[in-house]
């Protein structure tokens, strides 16, 4: 049985699954339930400065999109940071950490962008004996209008400045949570690193409107006929998050910076994918909000089973394993030539591959009067669309042409690895010497 224990920037937890800073971690009651269920750690829902707490809307906070059978695919929210008094949260954090010393207890923070505010809150958090802090520079709604959250996360100089204050006024490990609502995710990560952050966590939620009510013409979630953009999360955002995690993991300037991966982790497989792209652990929210804390059993058992199958004995062995294989387009092998192949025994003759290829791609699939569908190698550019739209798994596969074979589409012989940088059509090509 693989060992799921993780040590993330010196913070130990029995498994790599933390609950992200969000409604599930707003109170001792919820967090106690999460720990009983088996979660490895939590990032306590974001605390603000002392004084009157923020207020939330009193109508819907969440919007959603669904797949078949109302499977929740994407969730958005307009909830703000904790709306409970600071002292109550601090007291509960301290008590829960004492009750569960083996679990990771991180406290998310968001206070105004001045040194005194940060200094003050850090002192309070240290008193709780929590394991570390996460700086919420990601929340895209509400707080950003007040110069906090994503408003900070979108300006690398601010990230660096605040991170530096935090490291200066606290000995606690510091994770900087990044917003994806930015053009190049590497810039805020670099800033966090410059400021002395121990790790970054990403992604926070994405600016979004989930839908529009076509009777009232109001965006959802709707408050009294109006709607404001919320933060989008859940399974739908995972591909975006995976890319951003990988970008930081492979960038020369941020390589080695620990990453806590967030964004649509729903099953063990999602978590494993984040780990391979460089995340040292993962944070989960939407899946727990959709199905409850019980999913942790599948998440841990699934990861453990996978690691056993692959012969991995610790989570570390998985972390970053796919990073060397993430590259730039220009380095992709142009002599990797494949052709789609349809398994006639598995084909159910729905014709989706044909419609997709004929209408929207390369006219590389033929259809006979008796509904037999076959790939025309002379036309197939191996785009993969037929596989993506085929309802039968493994019915269509990509078959690689061996070296020396002639691609019937181009008439060219398949050669050794060669990419765009040396391609004759590239005006910037470096002569292969």
């Amino acid at each position: 049985m693989a060992n799921l224990t993780t040590n993330f920037i010196g913070i130990k937890s029995p498994n790599p699954y933390w609950l992200a800073s969000a409604p599930p971690t707003d109170k001792a009651y919820n967090v106690e339930r999460a720990f009983k269920a088996g979660w490895g750690g939590v990032v306590w829902k974001t605390l603000g400065s002392e004084g009157p707490p923020v207020v939330n809307v009193n109508g819907p906070r969440y919007g959603a999109i669904w797949g078949a059978d109302r499977r929740l695919l994407g969730l958005n929210n307009i909830e703000l940071i904790t709306d409970r008094p600071l002292d109550v949260n601090l007291r509960e954090i301290k008590q829960v950490k004492r009750n569960w010393p083996d679990r990771a207890m991180i406290v998310s923070l968001m206070v105004p962008c001045d040194e005194e505010s940060w200094k003050a809150i850090l002192k309070h958090v240290e008193d709780t004996e929590a394991d570390g802090v996460e700086l919420n520079f990601g929340c895209p709604h509400g707080m950003s209008e007040r110069g906090m959250g994503a408003a900070v996360g979108q300006v690398p100089e601010y990230i660096e400045m605040v991170t530096r204050w935090v490291k200066q006024h606290s000995r606690m490990p510091c994770i900087v949570k990044l917003t994806p609502n930015i053009a190049d995710i590497r810039k805020p990560a670099e800033a966090a690193k410059r400021g002395g952050a121990d790790a970054v966590s990403l992604i926070n939620t994405i600016n979004s409107i989930t839908s529009v009510n076509l009777d009232t013409f109001s965006p959802e979630p709707m408050i009294d006929g109006k709607g404001a953009h919320g933060g989008y999360c859940g399974p739908a955002v995972k591909p975006i998050a995976l890319n951003m995690v990988a970008e930081i993991a492979r960038s020369a300037d941020t390589r080695g910076l620990p990453i806590s991966g967030i964004g649509g982790v729903t099953t063990w497989r999602d978590a494993a994918e984040f780990l391979t792209l460089g995340a040292g652990n993962v944070q989960v929210c939407t899946a727990a909000m959709t199905y409850g804390f019980g999913i942790i059993k599948e998440l841990t058992a699934g990861l453990s089973h996978y690691m056993d199958q692959k012969g991995f004995t610790s989570v570390d062995q998985l972390v970053g394993r796919a990073v060397p294989n993430v590259t730039d387009w220009q380095y992709l092998n142009l002599n990797y030539v494949t052709k789609a192949k349809i398994d006639q025994d598995l084909c159910i003759s729905c014709g989706r591959c044909y419609a997709a290829c004929e209408d929207t791609s390369h006219q590389a699939i033929s259809m006979s009067p008796d509904r037999k569908f076959e790939v025309i190698d002379d036309e197939c550019v191996a785009c993969n669309l037929c596989i993506n739209v085929c309802p039968v798994a493994d019915c269509i596969t990509m078959e690689q042409l061996p070296k020396g074979a002639i691609d019937p589409r181009t008439g060219e012989t398949v050669g050794d690895y060669a990419n765009w940088t040396t391609h004759p059509n590239n005006p910037m090509a470096k002569a292969a010497e």
Partner: protein, 447 residues
């Protein structure tokens, strides 16, 4: 309850009063909106979909299912009705497992097709329940068309003609329109007066006059109709029934199954409808199944359905036969009736086992008898009352591909003609296509 399932003879009221409503209610309930969404999501939206080809009316099935997915069942219904104005009843009575659902690629892939029939029912009933009719008539053409028979073929033809602006009179021999939908199918397939509701909805197009109690030959001839109409469509179905050819089959308790089914459909209080303790049904088609199953549902203790050939040759679908078996009907194959034993009242029916011999079906020499208080004959219907002057094709009215009969100005469709299977959906297609041919002819566009 005055009687029970074991009361000897033919009596009414074998069941508790509340059992009747339950037994003859919808076989399965309509989808609700969520169930429909989930079922619709299974459709792959196949290219040039096989289900469309398999549908005699060629409904654009992937399109209407996608419209359900997109939250517009009324638009889905419109897609269905564009091709099949009786799409509501067809959704209930079509043998979908041999038509659209049999052709569904998911049937081939998983043995579990998209539930096209139930989805069609959901869509059509959503629209019919709103009692809004989505079609309007074209400008009046001044042309008059007689449609004989208010069954599926006649109704489909009349609706399409009315849509094109022609004035239509339907001549129907029975009291109610609907044909077999109203008189010829099991009650649980069209519960809650659905067949009548659908006809009422269909007639909302306007321009259609319904004349009931008018029988061709008795109340007027084909020539009479042609004299005052620009065209005539015959959708007269098969009014005759085949006989067993046995002595004693004319005793009152040996009935044609179609009469029993019709009587049952027109009986408001089924606890007043007598049924035997021992019932024998002879035949292997849908009519035999409907008679046998409904006999059980009325409280008959023993119901046997006997067919002279093997199960493969039966007209009833596997789905129907399984349903009959589940309802407790004993299905006996490869046995032909050879004698009716009665002494004033029916006692037994004697059968001989059969096998396929050199000269066709031959008795094996082994015989058996079945107790029978009541015998229902369902060995096929035949053309009756069709104008003699029309050319026949295999004992039915001969038509060409456009539905034209052998006499100019006369079209025909449905069970009374030789084309296609005797299914409601086929009749609808033929009625519709004949209407298009009539329209083209009347407007001078037809060849």
């Amino acid at each position: 309850m005055t009687h029970s399932t074991t009361t000897p003879g033919i009596v009414a009221g074998r069941l508790h009063p509340e059992d009747y409503a339950q037994h003859f209610d919808d076989l399965y309930p309509d989808f609700d909106a969520h169930e429909a969404m989930v079922a619709a999501d299974r459709c792959y939206f196949c290219h040039d979909a096989p289900c469309i080809t398999a549908c005699p009316t060629e409904i654009d099935i992937p399109l209407f299912i996608r419209q359900i997915q997109a939250g517009q069942p009324e638009a889905a219904a419109r897609t269905i009705f564009d091709q099949n104005i009786l799409g509501g009843i067809c959704a209930r009575v079509c043998p979908t497992e041999t038509l659209c659902e049999g052709a569904c690629v998911r049937e081939a892939a998983e043995g579990k097709p998209v539930e096209i029939g139930r989805l069609q029912r959901y869509a059509t009933e959503t629209l019919i329940a709103k009692n809004s009719h989505p079609y309007t008539r074209a400008a009046p053409t001044g042309k008059r068309v007689a449609v004989v028979g208010a069954g599926p073929a006649g109704l489909a033809c009349a609706h399409r003609l009315a849509m094109h602006g022609h004035d239509v009179t339907i001549f129907e021999r029975r009291e109610k329109p609907g044909g077999l939908n109203e008189y010829g199918i099991a009650a649980y397939k069209a519960a809650h007066g659905f067949a009548q509701a659908e006809v009422d909805w269909l007639l909302q197009i306007g321009g259609i006059t319904l004349r009931q109690g008018w029988t061709l030959g008795r109340d007027g001839t084909l020539a009479d109709l042609q004299e005052i109409h620009d065209a005539v469509f015959l959708g007269i179905g098969l009014a005759g029934v085949n006989a067993l050819g046995l002595d004693g089959e004319d005793i009152p308790t040996a009935r044609d199954a179609v009469d029993f089914i019709a009587e049952l459909r027109q009986t408001d209080d089924l606890s007043t409808l007598p049924i035997g303790r021992h019932v024998v049904v002879i035949g292997g088609g849908m009519t035999a199944v409907d008679a046998a199953v409904q006999s059980r549902l009325l409280g008959a203790e023993h119901v046997a359905m006997v067919y002279r050939r093997g199960r493969d040759a039966m007209g009833a679908s596997d789905y129907e036969l399984n349903h009959a078996a589940n309802e407790g009907v004993k299905i006996i194959t490869n046995a032909m009736p050879i004698a009716i034993h009665a002494n004033g009242t029916l006692r037994e029916v004697e059968f001989a086992y059969t096998h396929a011999g050199e000269t066709g079906l031959e008795p094996t020499g082994e015989t058996f008898r079945l107790r029978a208080d009541q015998l229902f004959k369902a060995i096929g219907q035949k053309l009756d009352g069709a104008p003699e002057e029309l050319t026949r094709d295999k004992r039915k009215i001969g038509i060409d591909g456009a539905g034209r009969a052998s006499r100019a100005g006369v079209w025909a469709g449905g069970d009374c003609t030789g084309g296609g299977e005797d299914l409601t959906v086929t009749a609808v297609a033929q009625g519709r296509d004949a209407a298009e041919s009539i329209h083209a002819s009347l407007m001078g566009n037809g060849a």
